[in-house]
């Protein structure tokens, strides 16, 4: 059961896919007037502290940042250092995601500078939250869900701080040029449009005009030039290497063969695969099949990386519609190639729009920490209850025509296919295929796929058979007992609450 109130705010429990119909107008920000802004367009202030002071930073405000700098982000940490210096308390941090580098903020959660985090959490912050140490309840949203929550007025941002690899004094900004290049700034789009005050911070200030303006200066209140906003080698993810693990390669090969036999890989098709080692390997297998058969994809959805860029440049893919760039090759390609297009959660993922791109994708290849026998899946918690990952675009991608989860059947004796998942992040009706090293399970709802693969030599099994096989090898797990206390809410793409995360019980020390 999910609660109807979280952090004092009324919430709507999940009703089913497409069932909740919002009946109100979108939220909007105040009307600004040019009279309040410098006539010459120069909005530059002395430093970040001055910008925050001018933006009116006070107790209890909601502060947003984006995660394009990934684990190399210095800006979010700097913002709260300043808030701490200023003695401001009770802030709500509303990032598009957090990373291990944000462990820096734990002392501010302890001393009350930050009261809670509303955003996908990775690593140390997730652990902190799981153990019930955060004062408020965390709220996790998908990338599309974050845009939806802001535009619907569920979340009001007081101050948005947007780090950019390149910006001009007016506030036009992009992620393409400069030492902190991260490709695009799509995750900050909603923040720029709807926050009361918008600050653009850059370590590469150029004279007007900064083009392309992925963020438009007309939304921006203040601009700040800083020495450094990110650590380049950590902005670029280290995971963009194809896996060398034979078991993962096997899963990748099975996934690609499945797509081939199901007729998904055909001229003009589209796909989305992540940047994990297995996903990259699937991309490679796709490329091999496409070359052999002379097939071209119309578009691929990124996270882009050097492998996808190579497919674009070899003509195997006509367009990359990119949500975030994972390596320098991705950044270069986006800068140079008009067919490598930057997108945003609004175009790609927002469920409260007039459609989005995710639904048009033929096949999305995603991950999961757990899947249950009804194909419901979990991406945020581990089986021991710890909240260690964000949702990312995962929920949004479930609307693709075919959703495949390539996952190991178990990880170090912990089965991945289970009777029930610890946390439901996505309903089984949207998840079509599970590919494991020991067999492929097709959702019984996908009769078409079952029919197509009937004569296949691939190891097609039922999800119950997979679960049984995992238990035969690993043993039947004892039930993990969690506390009743809620530490985080998981939002569905329409803003309803699909599940909650409960506090883990720490072992008592004798």
């Amino acid at each position: 059961m999910v609660p109807t109130e979280i952090n004092g705010q009324v919430v709507i429990p999940y009703m089913g896919v497409g069932k909740f119909v919002p009946k109100k107008r979108k939220y909007n920000s105040y009307i600004s007037t040019n009279a309040d802004f410098p006539a010459d367009g120069n909005k530059k202030v002395k430093n970040l502290k001055e910008a925050l002071q001018k933006a009116g930073l006070v107790n209890g405000m909601r502060i947003s940042t984006h995660h394009h700098f990934r684990d190399g982000d210095l800006l979010a940490n700097r913002v709260f250092d300043i808030a701490h210096e200023m003695g401001v308390k009770g802030l709500i941090w509303f990032p598009s995601a957090s990373f291990p580098c944000h462990e820096h903020l734990i002392p501010y959660l302890e001393d009350g500078t930050i009261s809670r985090i509303e955003g996908s959490m990775n690593g140390p912050l997730g652990k902190y939250c799981s153990e019930g140490k955060m004062k408020g309840v965390a709220v996790l949203r998908s990338h599309g869900g974050r845009y939806q929550a802001i535009q619907d007025g569920e979340v009001h941002i007081d101050i948005a701080i947007i780090g950019a690899a390149c910006a001009d004094p007016f506030g036009n900004a992009n992620g393409l040029n400069g030492k902190s290049a991260s490709g695009l700034l799509g995750f900050a789009l909603a923040d720029s449009q709807f926050a009361d005050r918008v600050i653009v911070a850059t370590d590469n200030m150029v004279a007007f005009p900064c083009v392309p303006w992925q963020i438009q200066g007309n939304y921006v209140d203040f601009t700040v030039e800083m020495d450094q906003i990110g650590i380049p080698e950590r902005i670029i993810s280290g995971t963009t290497q194809i896996t060398k693990s034979p078991d993962r390669l096997l899963i990748a090969e099975l996934t690609a063969r499945f797509c081939e036999e199901a007729g998904i890989i055909k001229d003009g098709f589209s796909f989305q695969a992540g940047a994990g080692g297995t996903s990259l390997a699937i991309g490679e297998f796709f490329a091999r099949i496409m070359k052999e058969k002379g097939i071209k994809a119309r578009f691929a959805r990124g996270g882009s990386n050097k492998y996808l860029v190579q497919m674009l440049e070899e003509g195997l893919v006509e367009y990359i519609l990119d949500g975030q760039t994972f390596d320098l090759e991705g950044v270069r390609s986006m800068r140079e190639n008009p067919n490598h297009v930057w997108t945003s959660p609004f175009t790609s993922y927002n469920y409260h729009g007039k459609g989005n791109f995710a639904g048009m994708v033929d096949v999305a290849i995603l991950g999961a920490t757990e899947v249950d026998v009804n194909f419901n899946a979990n991406v945020v918690t581990h089986s021991d209850g710890y909240l260690l990952h964000g949702i990312g675009g995962w929920q949004n991608c479930l609307f693709s025509k075919t959703v495949i989860l390539p996952i190991p059947l178990f990880r170090n004796r912990i089965p991945v296919v289970r009777e029930e998942v610890t946390t439901i992040c996505g309903p089984g009706e949207l998840i079509d295929v599970i590919v494991t090293e020991r067999g492929i399970a097709i959702n019984p709802l996908r009769n078409d796929l079952l029919r197509k693969l009937k004569e296949s030599n691939l190891p097609i099994k039922s999800i119950h058979e997979l679960k049984k096989e995992a238990e035969e090898i690993c043993g039947v797990m004892e039930k993990c007992v969690l506390s009743d206390e809620i530490v985080a809410a998981i939002k569905w793409v329409d803003g309803t609450v699909i599940d909650v995360v409960r506090k883990v019980l720490l072992e008592e020390i004798d």
């Binding site: 034979p246 078991d247 096997l250 021991d384 090293e437 035969e472 690993c474 043993g475 004892e478």
Partner: protein, 408 residues
């Protein structure tokens, strides 16, 4: 002796040993069984691990101990092997704590099955055994010899024994490489009663080496009342072994294949091993010839650069052209490359089809001589080509009734 000093240890638990555990046991005079578990999966398997541990201690009639297990996701058969080794450092016992065979492991092998690929797995690294069979090697070798550190030889025997019973081999031929000499003879008790199909005898130099192994196998079979055949694969790894290749190959009717190990052989010659392998051509041909003379399979050495698949392809092609029928693999990704390149290729199959078809046509027309075009074909050639087709059919690359669609 002070009882408090009797502590034994077994297993591995560092960051590299996924799926393994470290066990220490301290014998006490009183106090019952004191169980301590540190494990990432304690929430899920803490109770079942404790139960297993207590049942093993009870099986060996050990009543008062402090047993500490540091676990990193080890499966029950691994935990049991580690505990048994630790127990047997403290007490003398002939008893063995055996798991039931899983039904999937109760299959037989036969003399003539393909042995294109055989995947080597270190005998003391259980985690690598878990998925090995999924990569579909023809054979899986649990290695007690070179892949196991000298201080871990005993521990490895228990892992291999338990793995033979409870680790699914997914249909691969079940092989174990024993140690050289007396150590290897001692290894046999841990594998012979557990449905091992093929025993690899390393550094074989004479028929006596084989006879010694066979005597011990017979003794164990008799004692345990075992009927099934256990095949042997001697590995030739020295200059002397090469000179005695025929003697070794014909030492027993249970020998189904003979392999050459080039790392040790080139070391014995005092030369560098090269990719082209000119330095070992004599040895390899000698081994192939000896094998063909007694109608067993000739198996080539492993190719050790796991990153270079193109070089592996070349290596396999060369190996096949010399008359080898298989090769060792040290990485699962090598398996499909080895299979594809040992299998008959398109040209070979087409040629065989042509000849075999001509043979059938000649038979139908009552002709004694088979000819293809202007060339006459001798009966041994037909026989050889029939074998190529049989192989292609059993590998699934040629349809069984290919002649119904054959257009000459």
């Amino acid at each position: 002796m002070e009882l408090g000093e009797q502590i034994s240890r077994s297993g591995n638990c560092d960051s590299n040993s996924k799926g393994d555990c470290f066990v220490s046991i301290e014998l006490k005079q009183s106090g019952g069984v004191n169980f301590e578990l540190e494990s990432k999966v304690k929430v899920f398997y803490g109770k079942s691990i404790e139960k297993l541990c207590r049942s093993i201690l009870a099986f060996f009639s050990i009543e008062n101990v402090v047993i500490a297990i540091k676990d990193n996701g080890a499966l029950p058969y691994v935990i049991a092997a580690r505990i048994e080794v630790a127990v047997k450092q403290l007490i003398t016992s002939e008893k063995e704590f055996l798991f039931d065979f899983i039904p999937e492991n109760l299959y037989e092998s036969n003399q003539d099955r393909f042995r294109f690929s055989r995947l080597y797995l270190p005998g003391n690294t259980p985690y690598m055994m878990l998925n090995a069979g999924l990569h579909k090697p023809n054979g899986i070798i649990l290695d007690l010899e070179d892949a196991v550190a000298i201080t871990k030889k005993n521990e490895a025997r228990y892992i291999v024994r338990n793995a033979l019973r409870t680790q699914n081999f997914y249909g691969a031929e079940r092989m174990v490489r024993i140690n050289q000499g007396e150590l290897g003879i001692e290894d046999l008790a841990f594998i012979v009663p557990h449905n091992v199909h093929v025993i690899l005898v390393p550094k074989c130099e004479s028929a006596t080496d084989i006879h010694r192994v066979e005597e011990e196998i017979s003794r164990i079979k008799k004692r345990k009342d075992l009927m099934q055949d256990i095949f042997l694969m001697p590995i030739i790894e020295s200059a002397l072994g090469v000179e005695n290749a025929f003697e070794i190959a014909s030492a027993s009717r249970n020998i189904v294949a003979m392999a050459i190990g080039l790392e040790d052989y080139t070391a014995d010659l005092g030369v560098q091993r090269t990719n082209t392998g000119t330095e070992s051509l004599y040895a390899r041909m000698r081994v192939v010839n000896a094998c063909r003379a007694v109608r067993i399979q000739a198996i080539d050495s492993v190719f050790s650069d796991v990153g270079d698949m193109e070089a592996l392809v070349e290596n396999v092609k060369r190996s096949k052209s010399l008359g080898f029928q298989g090769m060792g693999c040290i990485h699962p990704r090598q398996i499909s490359v080895v299979h594809e390149n040992f299998a008959p290729n398109w040209n070979e199959i087409e040629r065989a089809k042509k000849i075999v078809n001509a043979f059938h046509e000649a038979e139908k027309n009552g002709l004694a001589v088979v000819s293809v075009g202007t060339k006459m074909v001798d009966p041994p050639v037909v026989k050889q080509q029939l074998k190529v087709l049989e192989l292609a059919i059993s590998l699934g690359i040629l349809s069984k009734d290919w002649r119904s669609e054959y257009v000459g």
